[in-house]
Subunit: 131 residues, 2 copies
Amino acid sequence: MLIIDKLSRVPVYEQVVSQLEKLIAMGEYASEQPLPSVRALATQLGINPNTLQKAYAELERRGFCVSSPGSGRFVSRHAQELMEVRARKKIGDFSALAAELLQAGVEGEELLACVRRAMDVAEKKGEETHD
Amino acid sequence: MLIIDKLSRVPVYEQVVSQLEKLIAMGEYASEQPLPSVRALATQLGINPNTLQKAYAELERRGFCVSSPGSGRFVSRHAQELMEVRARKKIGDFSALAAELLQAGVEGEELLACVRRAMDVAEKKGEETHD
DNA sequence: CTAACCGTACTATAAGTGATAGTACAATTA
DNA sequence: TAATTGTACTATCACTTATAGTACGGTTAG
């Protein structure tokens, strides 16, 4: 389910893009499966169809979906791989953030604890959904 | 030294704010010490004085500096403490990023390695500057 | 005291972005 | 055939960013 905050400083179409990316990453919208139509989702979210069109165009530009005029819009075959590539690139951000925090006086052990805590949570999530 | 990218999508005044924050955090501009004047720095950076004024106003709003009309603008006494408070808040972002990466399939050990690597770098930096 | 500098306030303009509304058209599907 | 799909286009409105120019009062150095 998508949630739009119209009062946010981050543009609506960006909110849609990032949330749809997450839903695709989580498998909510699987490969080759159809995404909601422009008009239907725009109406549901209470936003302008043009705004959603912009979001979909961006998602398409990034390779996460493909459109078939007249038929609909579908999650691309390689969306999952793309997601992993993006995650790899984010490791750089992760390292930079760690360095910044360390320089600001945060203890390294505290950061390690954060990661271990996240690992525990991720592991439990994995157990729940090991279908 | 501040570097402004006028072609960037991030506003000039935000670039100034974030870079000055980092310079203050690094001790480049120490507590109680004067910051460059609005007109002087604006000329040096090749930007409009009003734009720099906006950046300084934001920096002041955040508590990192205080102004004394007629005299100048100075780094506030508690700037360093503020910086540490900000770092603490960033730990939340750090944990969230770790969770996101784990969910995307990155191994926990890899994240731990990133942190340890950053710790090594930070330690060496500390040795260099232990005055 | 005076001149030069400081921060600040104000108006005005220009450009860019985000979001909306409305219309239209070709392709696909039931 | 009728309905739905994606897409294109114009137009408008609001907001933000950045600029230019002017002005005023406080502070400081000569």
